[in-house]
Symmetry: C2
Subunit: 230 residues, 2 copies
Amino acid sequence: MTRRTPRPRERGIPEATVARLPVYLRALQSLTERGTPTVSSGELASIAGVNSAKLRKDLSHLGSYGTRGVGYDVEYLIYQISRELGLTQDWSVAIVGAGNLGRALANYGGFGTRGFRIAALFDADPAVVGDEVAGLSVRHIDTLEDVVSVEKVSIGVIATPAAAAQGVCDRFVSAGVTSVLNFAPVVLSVPDGVDVRKVDLSIELQILAFHEQRKADGHEGPGWIGALEA
Amino acid sequence: MTRRTPRPRERGIPEATVARLPVYLRALQSLTERGTPTVSSGELASIAGVNSAKLRKDLSHLGSYGTRGVGYDVEYLIYQISRELGLTQDWSVAIVGAGNLGRALANYGGFGTRGFRIAALFDADPAVVGDEVAGLSVRHIDTLEDVVSVEKVSIGVIATPAAAAQGVCDRFVSAGVTSVLNFAPVVLSVPDGVDVRKVDLSIELQILAFHEQRKADGHEGPGWIGALEA
DNA sequence: ACGCCCTTGTGAATGCGCGCACAAAGTGGG
DNA sequence: CCCACTTTGTGCGCGCATTCACAAGGGCGT
C-alpha cells in the first residue's frame, strides 16, 4: 500500500497518550505566551513533567510534526493537538448540582478558553433555582431534557450528592448525552457507548494516606519534622 | 522473630490496587448499612464496577481474608482495608485557597467520616481571611508554617489559582508536608519523598471531548477523507 | 559542497496490569 | 462419612505502557 495522504493517525491513539495531550497543550500555551517559537522534546517534557522519549512517542502517534535538529513548532503543535482532542469545535457542557462544587465548576475559568461552553446549571432545590451563578441562572432539574436537546449538550457533569447521581446520570443518558464527568462518590452504571470519567476527592486523599503511612512505617520517626536542612 | 500480627504481605501492593481499595471500602460500607454480613467477590465486584477476578487478586495482596465457599466477612474486610490504607489513624489536612473550590472541599462531608480532619483553611486575600467556612475561620497564608507544625498537618491541598500553586507547594514542603493534593492546573515540582496527586477538571473534560469526537467521526461522514470503508 | 552536531522518530526490551480458567478449600445435605 | 456445590486464591498468557538506545534526518558553519 502506497501512502499518498500524510496519514496523520491510524485511528488508534493509546489511552495513556490521550490523557497526557492536555498537559502538553497547556505547556505549549505557556510557551506561546512567552513568545517561544520552537521547542525541543527535552524542554517540553521537562515542563510537562514527563520523560522525553515518552513525549516523542506520544507526539509520534499524531504524526511527524517535528523537525530533526530543531524541535517542534509551538503554534503548529498547539493546533495539531487541539484538533486531535476535538477542541477546534465547541462543546456544550451541562452541570447538575448548584452546591459548592457545582458553583466552583461553573466559575472555573479554564473551560471557556478551551472550547467548552457551560450551557446550563441545574439543581433540584427550588430555593436555589433562579440564583445567578457565573452569568447563568440556575434552572430546575426538570428542564434538563429540554435544555440538553435545545443546547445540544454532549457532556454532562454531575456534582450532586451521591444519592442523586445515578438518577441524574440516567436522565442525561436518555436525553442523549454520551459523555459524563462524575464528581459524586458512587460508581455509575451506563449503557455501552457512553463514557464516564470519575473524579473522587475522597479517594485521592485515601491514596495519599496510604503512601504517607508507608513512609512513616519505614522511618518510624516523626516524618514531618526536619526533612529539611541544607 | 515471630510475628504476631498476620503480617499480610510484603511491602508491595500494586499501585493500581491501592487506587481501587477506596472503592471497595465504600461498597463495603454501603453493604454494612444494609446489614449484609458477608459478601462474595462476584457481588462486591459488581457493586464496585470491576471484574471479580481482579477484585480477588486485589484483596489477595492484603492477605487471605475470605472463606472459600462463603465469601468475605464485611466488617472484617472493612477493617483490613482501612488499616492498610492508613485510615485507622487520623490525618490532618490543610487547604490553601478559600475560593469556590476551597470552600467546596472544606464543606465536603466525606472527609471527616474517613479519618481526615480539616485542620485549617488558608487564603492570601485579606478580604477573605476571617470568613467562617465549614466551622473554620479562614486564616492568612502567612500562618501556614505555624499551623502545619502545631496541627501536625501531613496532607496539603492546593486549591489556588495556577500562578500561586508552586509557591504554596514549596511552603508546604519546607514546612514538612510530604503529601500534596493539587487542584491547580500546573505541574508541580517537588523533591524526592514528597507525593503529589493531581486533580484537573479541564483535563478530564478534554479527554471526554476526544472520545466524543471519535464517536461522532464514526457515525457521521468522514472528517476529511474516507479512512473507513473498503 | 561537505561534514559536524543536534534532535526526532522508533525498534526492542522490560515490566506491569488484566482476565481466564482451574485447583484448592470449605460448606451443607443426605 | 461422603459427595456435590460454592467460592476463593492464583498460575499463566496476553497486550499495553514505559524507557533505552540508536539510526535517520535536517540545519548550519566553514
